[in-house]
Assembly symmetry: D2
Homo-oligomer: 341 residues x 4
């Protein structure tokens, strides 16, 4: 932590800061500039942060130097990228994976048809929500446990691992029984009890970035899971909030190469929700793969215009095969292998 003093801070103000830094066992290292003095506090980040020096007399501002996450950092794994293996499907490192399926589990027929399409085209996992976070209390909230049973059936039929969302910690056992990967939605990225409990469950986690979460906050959320001994975390960018009114969300593809420099965890892109519109999904998916993403999670529906939820952004089943061929080429451009199971 660097403590930048104000112009004109007095010697006794500087001394007081140094004293407090040393009081928590940290070293204080003073750089005297012409106008401003900077005090480097070398020691435990949390201890120094807890001193609350931002308010101290003569202090202008604080600059953290060390990253606040440890287990999620690329340095922690000495630059080796994590490969998460889910029922034989690899994602991360050189392995690219596609997770596809309907937004919501809405009926047995739709789910099984979608699952078969996804499998036939060569996607690696099946997505589908039994519990749906909805802005409006008057909207359809998902089939709940009945939906979980249908996902279980789809898995049995196709052999595809299941990715499905958990919203309430009280549903953890039920979801964990069916899910191969537990999805935590953007609105729950900082739901710390959920993160901790999912960490303890040991199940692979797909952790979506909050609508206005910084990359550092995303990695700190992952740290909550990793800290419980669960190393199988997939980070997912799904669109952030900006001022631009013509998008539902602004898909932040810059996160892909930047996260790759910060963390060893695999990075998955969800283009469907940001786009909100079928025609944008393919170009955004190709861009994600070309930028170096480790996977995409995408909506496919046998008959989007009859979908209960988010139909307009779902890829049409018959076009999904072609989509996957192009995606494969884009992933290869970034040095990834697109595995067929």
């Amino acid at each position: 932590m660097m403590i930048v003093m104000k112009e004109g801070a007095t010697q006794s103000e500087i001394d007081a800061v140094v004293k407090r830094v040393r009081s928590v066992g940290a070293d204080a290292h003073i750089s005297q500039g012409e106008l401003v003095t900077v005090i480097g506090a070398i020691g435990d980040r949390e201890h120094v942060a807890n001193l609350g020096l931002e308010g101290a007399p003569g202090v202008d501002h604080l600059v953290p130097i060390l990253k606040p996450y440890k287990l999620a950092s690329l340095e922690y794994r000495r630059g080796v990228r994590s490969v998460v293996e889910i029922d034989g499907r690899k994602i991360g490192g050189d392995h690219f994976a596609t997770i596809a399926g309907p937004c919501t589990v809405e009926s047995r027929e739709v789910l099984l048809t979608a699952a078969q399409t996804v499998k036939d085209a060569g996607a690696q996992m099946l997505r589908g929500g039994a519990y749906k976070p909805r802005t409006s209390p008057y909207s359809f909230q998902g089939l709940g446990e009945a939906g979980l049973r249908l996902l279980s059936e789809a898995k049995e039929e196709t052999g595809l691992p299941i990715v499905t969302e958990l919203m309430d910690v009280r549903d953890l056992d039920a979801v964990a029984e069916v899910a191969d990967v537990i999805q935590l939605g953007a609105r729950n990225m900082q739901n710390y009890s959920l993160l901790t409990e999912v960490g303890r469950s040991g199940k692979p986690v797909l952790l979506k970035r909050g609508l206005s979460a910084t990359l550092e906050e995303l990695l700190m959320a992952a740290e909550y899971v990793l800290k419980e001994g669960n190393n199988d975390v997939l980070l997912c960018e799904r669109g952030i909030r900006t001022y631009e009114p013509s998008y539902r969300f602004t898909l932040d593809l810059m996160a892909v190469p930047v996260l790759r420099e910060l963390t060893h965890l695999p990075i998955v892109i969800d283009p469907s929700h940001a786009a909100g519109k079928r025609s944008l999904v393919e170009p955004l998916s190709l861009a994600a793969a070309a930028a170096g993403a480790d996977g995409v999670i995408v909506e496919v529906h046998p008959c989007p215009e009859e979908a209960v939820c988010d139909g307009p952004q779902a890829l049409v089943a018959e076009e999904f095969d072609m989509y996957l061929r192009k995606l494969e080429a884009a992933a290869e451009l970034a040095g990834k292998t697109f595995e067929r199971v």
Copy 2:
């Protein structure tokens, strides 16, 4: 819902949309412009929204006309503002209230001293967190149940109603036993199970706006609580995320007069977290009151530089009395009464 067709949409595309609108029992009303046709769908908002017409052939975009919230709207109460009464303290309508206390419950002594200061100066309620949402899993997470017991003691000593945060639905009973107002934090604004359960508890709720929540989303979150029959919802603006790097959060004071035109619910401003700095708290509080807010929630600490958490933004106890006098004058300027209990 208005359905705006693309330039050059064909008659059969228009007919198809009209047919689908009518299929859910809504009326379709066609406006033919020189370039573009607009179809007004008059009927149940949810039904029409669920048609997923954004993707339909010939459709350019949809424009919702009706507000998605009902119980929270000013029209629902025919323009009459809600007054929430908490153990005899009124907030809303013409009544301004101040909620003050330490960020975190950290020790018996600090809490009781702060509570006495807050009471003596004339604030209406005591705040203090027993459960703290922290970005880092390595930070202090609050005293938990021990903190709740201390809050209970502070209430007994001072008679001040307690405002404290609930983070995990499993802690609801424990928190509800002590709290007079249950606070839901910004990161939980769209934690729908929490909203629903707190709605069912019947306890007054202080609902903080998410870091990048729109006003409409804030009102939809309130709607989750109201829908369960709990009318005592206080909305709280606490700073949003913008591009400006010199603020922790950008306190959105424009929300005050805009929300007053949308909803009957009382509006409380939390200047402390956005400011992150003591010197900004007073001007922001005065601004909030002058803009027409119904209350502020503010951090006060007997000895901020020893605070476990967020000390630099806490008002110093001995200055709190003067702060409250100025706040009173600002609230009066906006036509509010600042009640002494």
Copy 3:
């Protein structure tokens, strides 16, 4: 400038950075932490910045320590606030001023009526645009020189100093002949030739913050004017761009107390453009004054519903007197005197 090295940076990488820092005459001061080394470069900010060390081997990132603006900083004037005097009207320090008038100069009658209203109520200056920046090339672009002549006439009749916008450097002489304060619009905040020329003109400047300009960028824009020897700069916050769809712009009132800690220059708030709606102008104005602003610039129109431009946000003339009385009370709350000429 602090140069933060990567974890695992080698000694020779550190040495190379030190060598380059010293090559421009700066001192290098090394803090060796457990994980990371930080090199403080003490010397001319521009020289060090120009080294382009962000890309150097082993460098993680750079942290500037000194503020990039000098003349605009509060320290430069040793904490003494600037008072700008415009034809006998003071603004800044303890002096609050109101600038009011129609958005655009649209006709002789409207302008003169508005000017008289503004003067009778006790505002200090008259605003009105002869050149209007318009998003659309198909919108009315202002009366141009004819508008300037009308402003000149309004000044003669009422004695009020004139605030009017300059958009094109080629119009500088014509505008400077009529204007007592030259307004630079938000879209021109980083129009560097305009800033420089207006700086050279010696005329007082009202400099509007860009739609997404940081406070530092605003102060750097002011620095362009100050550097030419023109000290009469008024900073103006007029709403920034955020994700919130229910505002035209988000009026950033937090800028008021924060700017007061950074600069000696007076701070003016323009609530009309952000609001876009008459009913919001008064609460936002009172909030601005209570937060410590040095003035407001506000739209008043004798008959807003017939205004050529931005009528809906203009205050109605007959209510302007009452508005000004309340504003006076709010300014006094923040320790300002509201002068009558």
Copy 4:
């Protein structure tokens, strides 16, 4: 334009709006919903907009239906994409082009070396700034006319067309003499006199999106140029401002497929400024091409660590050839031809 009335608007308020709509020659078309009445105003957009109905009694809000730009719209060209031809190099439609070179023209040697590298690798145009917009008045502002002469020499030597920035309308003739494409920077996107004059010059224009400009505003800025009869406009996305602190700017790649649905104009991506870091430039470039961009503009420097400006983000000359091969593959994935001159 749709005029949405408030709940409870009276019949006489509705009648008054209808009357005003008709007064400018527009048709009024009334949709009466259960709660809310919507009035469609069918006629000239500008005329109706100028009515200022937002403030009228009983009016809740206005919804524009027609797009405000005409010449820039895809519909205007009936879906046919523009191909801009610059000295034999095509960009737009199926043609992908790469514009490369140093950020700033800093010396004869650097410029000529860079130009040769760029040409040898097969890029289509040379970039380089003689006039540089700089946040700080104390930073290097470019070589000005001397820089233009060097660009002219580089063109003679390599035959590459020149892309260079114009900042001040007074420099138009000098710049137009050397430039094959005049670049308008992000900070000048809404400098309307500059747009108009450049439109009149007839020179091809590379128009950069403002830091917080919406796509609609970008297209309106293009409309200022097109309106003067200059059809050769290239739109350039170069990073927008978001809350994310770990990027200089957030490169908005979503703009590529969305703009392709709105406009016929070619879309160029500038990954260098947003990245601010060499390692991010390649993945972002590949992503841009895969998403369907028509070109990239990228910084290349023979010796980035000695660059006067923005060295850390410049590609190293010896790696540029390989970069271009990969970019070619990504562009082909999106159906583009990467032309060699």
